[in-house]
Symmetry: C2
Subunit: 213 residues, 2 copies
Amino acid sequence: MTPKRKAKFERTVAHRQFDLTVILENVHDHHNIGAVLRSCDSVGIHEIFVLYNEPQLQKEYLELGKRTTAGTRKWLDVHYYTDTEACFSAVRERYDHIYATHLSRSAKSLYDLDLTRRVALMFGNEMLGLSDEAMQHADGNFIIPQMGMAESLNISVACAVSLYEAYRQRELDGAYDPVDLEQPRRAALLEKYFALHESGSNRGKIRRKGSKK
Amino acid sequence: MTPKRKAKFERTVAHRQFDLTVILENVHDHHNIGAVLRSCDSVGIHEIFVLYNEPQLQKEYLELGKRTTAGTRKWLDVHYYTDTEACFSAVRERYDHIYATHLSRSAKSLYDLDLTRRVALMFGNEMLGLSDEAMQHADGNFIIPQMGMAESLNISVACAVSLYEAYRQRELDGAYDPVDLEQPRRAALLEKYFALHESGSNRGKIRRKGSKK
């Protein structure tokens, strides 16, 4: 591993926000999921929850499950669920506030949320939005203000705007200040990233030697 | 026109920010341009500048020029240029500060910019970024902080995050407070939107009567 690569892993682990996450319910477009993962990584999120409780969409879930982790996905834990209760139980273990984006309910502005707390932000299906079942688990509902003719933003855009407001608030709050990388949780994550890097390099070598593609 | 529709036009015109714009240089993916237009509309931008100074991309420009305005594009003026100098002369007539996103130059954080001023934000080609020619017109360079393994954000995501930071600053600064819709500039824009709406309704009627598609 080059010193530059090692420093990048250390910087990434130092900036990981263990108290911020995203829940996606029945988001089916893989491009949207990819863009969400990239935004998550960029603000320091280390795990997200992907829930498919809509039977029609569960084939997507299975397909996703089969794919090997690649690109950004490699550096985030993506937890897949088909059971709504199991998903929210897992979220509640680590996050205190779940905020939803649901257009038809009374909602606060994104900019009035305190995103320095232990927060999960929840986004729904591209067409249907969030289900009533998921909304029952929400502690609050927020909107991204819309000043023009368009009624809503694409989910990957809405997610990025929300996450970067979290970044802005947290940066002011010191959440990206230097930390001790020997804290057990960060040390374990760094070790995991090193191992992923090594196995990736080995896979690359094997591929170059024998594989057809 | 329904009272609801009329109120929406009035609200949109009241929120239009005549001192905020976007310049896109050689952005070739139509989905990206579409997403950028939607974000622009959502924060109140009323015009953007689309520059194709790369000969290889000018066919895209011609294609775009041929398309009829539809969707969000209808509510924004999109100014197309193939000549860099002509483009920036037009921008300078109305905007004082041009901020670029260029990874390899020394840059401020987005969050350290004052976006309440007469500002144009400039984004470059998906692969190549901004040209040196365009950079010569920039008054400053900014980055969206990246805390993870990914090096950059998709252009539509980067643009939305930047524009919503402008929204946040401007909202605090009173830029979306009630205004007099009889100000000549706003009155003219409102009249234009009403006319566009009428012509759109008529086109709809003609289509329903006679056209095959």
